[in-house]
């Protein structure tokens, strides 16, 4: 882990009408750090990580990702560059149902990075092997199990060779027996030099691989500490309450 910041936010706010979902978030994330975001439902976790690649525009404060300032004035090409450097994995997988698994993974490298078809498919094949399902390459997503689909989604994000990976509850839509296969892929990923921000309810994962826990509640970043401190000796009352409820 280097000491170089890759994501910095200052007083980020997001409002939906009168409702303020994020009420001033300040974070400083170093390159290669594994951040686990915890918090009760509706606390703004998804909203926060979606602001980082501007899937969710913010209305106040500053976000700088990889040296690029993100706001209304960010140019289209900067934004494209930024998004292609950030992988995003959704709770609902969001694979493209009309093309095969291999094509799902190879699409963006061709269209965004301008790779040739062969190159892109080679990359895709390597990633499919890495997530453990090379034999499924020619199937359509609907023919895969949930765990397999999510692994394809991770491979799809990795195909762009991102510097940052964002995960929004990647295992919440999965049957219990499939959660492990996805977590294994993520744990393997965490060992490499990639920055990860993971919203999850998997406390085991948070303890094992998290460098830092960020606890959100009601639009505030309530607590930031290492997993040891957070789980054994939380600083804030609200963190304690949260841990009592889920453990």
């Amino acid at each position: 882990m280097s000491e170089e910041s890759i994501i910095q936010t200052k007083d980020v706010t997001v409002s939906f009408g009168d409702f303020q979902a994020l009420k001033g978030i300040n974070v400083d994330i170093k390159q290669g750090e594994i951040i686990v975001v915890l918090g009760p439902s509706g606390s703004g976790k998804s909203t926060f990580i979606r602001t980082l690649n501007r899937l969710q525009p913010h209305d106040g404060g500053e976000i700088v990702v990889d040296g690029i300032q993100i706001n209304e004035d960010t140019t289209v090409s900067d934004l494209k560059q930024l998004r292609s450097d950030i992988g995003f994995v959704f709770q609902q997988f969001n694979l493209f149902p009309h093309i095969t698994v291999l094509e799902n993974i190879a699409l963006a490298p061709q269209k965004v990075r301008g790779m040739s078809k062969e190159e892109a498919e080679e990359v895709a094949m390597k990633l499919l092997e890495r997530v453990g399902i090379p034999e499924q390459k020619n199937k359509y997503p609907a023919a895969l199990s949930g765990g397999q689909q999510q692994r394809v989604a991770i491979a799809r994000a990795l195909a762009m060779d991102p510097k940052i990976m964002l995960f929004d509850e990647p295992t919440s839509a999965l049957d219990p027996e499939m959660i492990k296969e996805v977590l294994d892929v993520m744990i393997d990923l965490a060992k490499r030099d990639i920055t990860m921000i993971v919203v999850t309810h998997e406390m085991g994962f948070a303890k094992e691989v998290g460098d830092r826990i960020m606890f959100f509640d009601e639009g505030h970043l309530v607590e930031e500490s290492t997993p040891d401190v957070f789980f054994d000796n939380p600083k804030e009352d609200r963190s304690k309450l949260f841990l009592e409820q889920i453990l």
Binding site: R83, G87, Q92, N94, F96, N138, Y140
Partner: protein
């Protein structure tokens, strides 16, 4: 008609007593015999053996007997089919005659259907003279120019496209993973029909507007050889593709299908160029005609209309007024006017508008109007389809860095087309039928041809048969198209996948 009489007898002596009997009403006159219909049928047919297909067999025999009755015009013959229909009734008597009201409905609907059927048979086989259709078959399919003794040589221009289309088409069937019989049986019927239509050389000519309509210099042998070549090539392409697709994976088959669809578009454009290449050669569109012209109009407007429809659909969904306003305006304008009005517009106004820039002939102008009209309806269908594409698809594609245009064309549009395919084909069928409207404008489409046939010297005032025949042609193509979509839908797995719902 003796059947009405028979019906009356039936009601008076069988149905009524049956009813009365069941409701325990005794009337002196019928007290003596009040048979139940099921009992009667059982009495008559009870001893006959039943086989698995006896109902189907009896039905075919009944139809044949009906045909015989109609053809022979013998009075006793008209009762023969009732005997076998009675047997069918006996086989199904549990469902058909279980309550008095059901008995009544059964018998009433039987006689209504039966008399329609008899009338239709009489029209088709007795009263009509199909000679007029048969002798004018080339005229109905191709219009006057291609069968005129002086210009008819140009007909060769249809052969290369015919070859190409047949090969593409058969290959397309090969990609559907179905049993061979399902293709080979209809295909051989299709072949026989074509051989009969082309091979049977009926020598005939007549004058119309000073133009000779003739089969006289028509050389059947040459055409037959050409036809045989095409049919065999089609068969080969089917067999090869069928063989190949068995070992290919689903995504490769899909890829082949896309290539086939694209190549049929390209060959269509190629066909137009072959018919009327730039320069003096070729046949000007205003000389094209017949049912083929209807198909050309339909296909051409389909290709152009798809482009228009896609553009309008996305335009209408755009949040920018520059795109949004014109799209809505065009869609609402064209959908609110009747098609005939727009065709008149194409005929009389468009030339004035376009002439300085583009001297459009009537055929292109008509295709232009059809394409716009089709495009507007398609836009609305696609818009509905686009709304069903989950927002997550857009987000996932955006997060990967794809541009808005790439997302629209590569992610949203294919999914929208898949879910709205049935509606799109319905619109295609509607457009095919609408092409018959062009006969208002002197374009020699199939309907214009049929309208002119009764003025031929030999077939004066024979209106009905050609019209029925052309109506049948349209029906056949439309029916075929709708059958085809059900197949494609199954192939896409739309019926069990539930669209993009899972992702």
């Amino acid at each position: 008609m003796s059947f009405n009489f028979f019906l009356l007898i039936f009601i008076l002596f069988v149905l009524l007593p049956d009813l009365l009997n069941r409701y325990h009403i005794t009337v002196r006159a019928v007290q003596v015999s009040c048979p139940n219909i099921r009992e009667i049928l059982n009495l008559l047919y009870g001893k006959l053996p039943r086989y698995t297909y006896s109902a189907e067999l009896a039905f075919i025999i009944s139809l044949l007997l009906t045909y015989f009755a109609v053809k022979s015009e013998l009075s006793f013959a008209s009762y023969l089919p009732l005997v076998t229909f009675g047997y069918i009734a006996h086989l199904n008597s549990k469902e058909l005659f279980d309550t008095p009201s059901n008995s009544f409905i059964t018998i009433l609907s039987f006689f209504i259907l039966y008399s329609f059927f008899v009338k239709a048979l009489e029209f088709v086989f007795i009263e009509s003279n199909w000679d007029v259709v048969f002798k004018n078959r080339r005229f109905i399919f191709l219009g006057p120019y291609f069968i005129n003794p002086y210009t008819g040589d140009e007909i060769w221009r249809f052969w290369p496209p015919f070859y190409v289309f047949l090969v593409i088409f058969c290959a397309g069937y090969g990609t559907l993973s179905e049993s061979k019989v399902k293709f080979l049986l209809p295909y051989s019927i299709f072949c026989l029909a074509l051989i009969f239509l082309i091979g049977y050389d009926s020598d005939y000519y007549s004058y119309k507007n000073g133009m000779k309509i003739s089969n006289r210099n028509y050389e059947a042998t040459e055409s037959l050889f050409l036809l045989a070549g095409a049919l065999i090539l089609g068969l080969i392409s089917y067999l090869l593709m069928h063989q190949r697709c068995k070992i290919l994976e689903e995504f490769q088959v899909n890829y082949i299908q896309q290539v086939l669809i694209l190549s049929s578009f390209l060959s269509f454009i190629g066909m137009l160029f072959l018919l009327d290449p730039p320069g003096d050669e070729g046949v000007k569109p205003s000389y094209w005609g017949g049912f083929v012209l209807n198909l050309i109009f339909a296909f051409g407007s389909l290709v152009i209309g798809f482009g228009i429809g896609i553009a309008l659909a996305f335009g209408r969904r755009s949040s920018l007024p520059v795109f949004y306003v014109p799209s809505v305006a065009i869609i609402e304008l064209f959908r609110s006017g009747p098609l005939v009005a727009w065709l008149f517009f194409a005929q009389f106004l468009v030339p004035d508008l376009f002439n300085p820039v583009w001297e459009a002939d009537i055929a292109s102008r008509i295709i232009f109007v059809f394409a716009l009209f089709f495009g507007c309806y398609l836009a609305e269908i696609l818009r509905g389809g686009l709304q069903t594409v989950p927002h997550g698809q857009f987000e996932a594609a955006t997060a990967l860095g794809l541009s808005p245009t790439q997302i629209k064309l590569r992610i949203q549009l294919p999914q929208a087309i898949r879910t709205t395919l049935p509606a799109i084909v319905g619109q295609m069928i509607a457009m095919l039928k609408d092409t018959s409207l062009v006969y208002f404008f002197g374009v020699y489409d199939a309907f214009k041809a049929t309208k002119d046939i009764p003025s031929q010297r030999d077939f004066l005032a024979e209106y009905e048969e050609p019209l029925v025949f052309v109506a049948f042609l349209f029906w056949a193509v439309a029916y075929y198209l709708s059958r085809l979509t059900t197949k494609i839908e199954k192939n896409l797995g739309l019926d069990n996948e539930g669209g993009a719902g899972r992702t």
